[in-house]
Symmetry: C2
Subunit: 233 residues, 2 copies
DNA sequence: GTGACGAATAAATCTGACTTTTTATTCCTG
DNA sequence: CAGGAATAAAAAGTCAGATTTATTCGTCAC
């Protein structure tokens, strides 16, 4: 599941990254590569590679004579999947989940509308298959099976939109849905209304009905917002 | 304007990154660290740092014994501001601009709706100030002045939404607007209708009229889509 | 033809020395 | 005492060489 797992530098990153995104070092804190290298028992070269990556994520800034300065959170590359994962694993997970759900509510309706125009026959088939999988797992506490098909469904929609920016949000949606199932809400079977909406959405896309696809998706995302007690815009 | 300018490794990145995002190395191409270090006349350490950063952007994958493999474009972190800038500077700039404009059309209406609820008095003031600036620069080929206020306007909206994911798209919107002014369309003064919409949007936000703010923004982004000959969803 | 073993190879890592830049301090001068 | 220039120090930046490790590919036996 972890992306950077391999390599010495990846292991250091998996420790230091979450620490920073968790806010353990307040903005403006100064870290020194030498100390960090000593702490993690790696060479300075490896530590410098780690710092470079953190720098490319705008989590820190490295300046000569000063050290490695932690940047305020509004500078962070919050779209970096790695950063998203680190933050979802940390303390402000609820806040993060809300932000991402609002993002979904903006993106997915438009993506669905585009998918209704651009989806291939194969993608339409995948969509109905996923919807059927959701139906099949919607009762009897088969949450994992339901999640699997739910994630696949939304991934197909985003990909079928034909917009690469949308397509790349597949991982984000997957994280949000997984988070919802595993931690926050949904102790029992999913809302039957939501399942129905997915089935209808698959139909709408197959029928090339962009307006209907958009409207149905809006209902789905509004449901997601309500689950988190967010007022629908 | 460049972010990575400082340091030897930054200069190498500014050459190699654009080359990769421009598709000069087809997916699956293998680069070797040693050769690259030789080519750029830097040490392997520097080259390794560069490769690590490219790897964190999912532009390449580094595996032992194999080398540095270029990944297909659907793997890239297309939300990384650096990657966006590289791609906008490259050959498929038009395609990139379209993707980003569609993204804007999804995000900004929702952001405006939220801004109408959450904007502070100060942000409302900034908004009207920007709108006035746009009006003042809307005639007489004062394109740079117009662009400046246009960018500031949309930045305030995104920030005032209170959603950090939206706020971080300020740079993207800035790039898109700048690209439109400097290269593609808009040879003469901006559309007066667009200017009016911005003024009205500032008013709507100040009046806390979320629905109106959303609708007005939708009209603005639809205009942007039409300029690029994209059918409005 | 399949499987296992081993050698070659290229990246990954470590080490330690040297360089450069930036900041702070000191000291000289007005 | 104040201002500014020279100086020192600190930390990142750079480099080259030695070592380690994992993967691939060829060979050989079964």
């Amino acid at each position: 599941m972890s992306t950077t797992g391999r390599g010495l530098h990846g292991r250091v990153l998996d420790t230091l990254g979450p620490e920073i995104t968790a806010g353990e070092y307040p903005p403006g804190s100064v870290l020194r590569t030498d100390e960090l290298a000593q702490r993690f028992d790696v060479s300075r070269s490896v530590m410098r590679e780690v710092v470079r990556v953190l720098e490319s994520m705008h989590l820190v800034e490295s300046r000569r004579r000063v050290g490695v300065t932690v940047l305020p959170s509004h500078e962070w590359n919050v779209y970096d999947p790695q950063v998203i994962r680190w933050r979802l694993a940390g303390a402000d997970r609820p806040r993060q989940l809300r932000s991402l759900t609002v993002l979904r509510s903006a993106i997915e309706p438009v993506a669905a509308s585009l998918a209704a125009r651009n989806a291939t026959a194969e993608q339409c088939a995948e969509l109905t298959e996923c919807a059927l999988g959701m139906v099949a797992n919607s009762r009897g506490h088969k949450l994992e099976g339901y999640l699997f098909h739910d994630v696949a469904f939304h991934r197909v929609i985003l990909t079928a939109s034909g917009n690469e920016m949308f397509a790349r949000l597949g991982d984000v949606v997957a994280e949000v849905l997984a988070g919802r199932t595993h931690h926050d809400v949904m102790f029992e079977d999913p809302d039957p209304a939501a399942v129905t909406l997915h089935v209808q959405l698959a139909e709408a896309v197959r029928a090339r009905d962009a307006a209907r696809a958009e409207k149905l998706t809006r209902e789905i995302t509004e449901g997601a917002l309500q689950e988190l007690d967010i007022l629908a815009p």
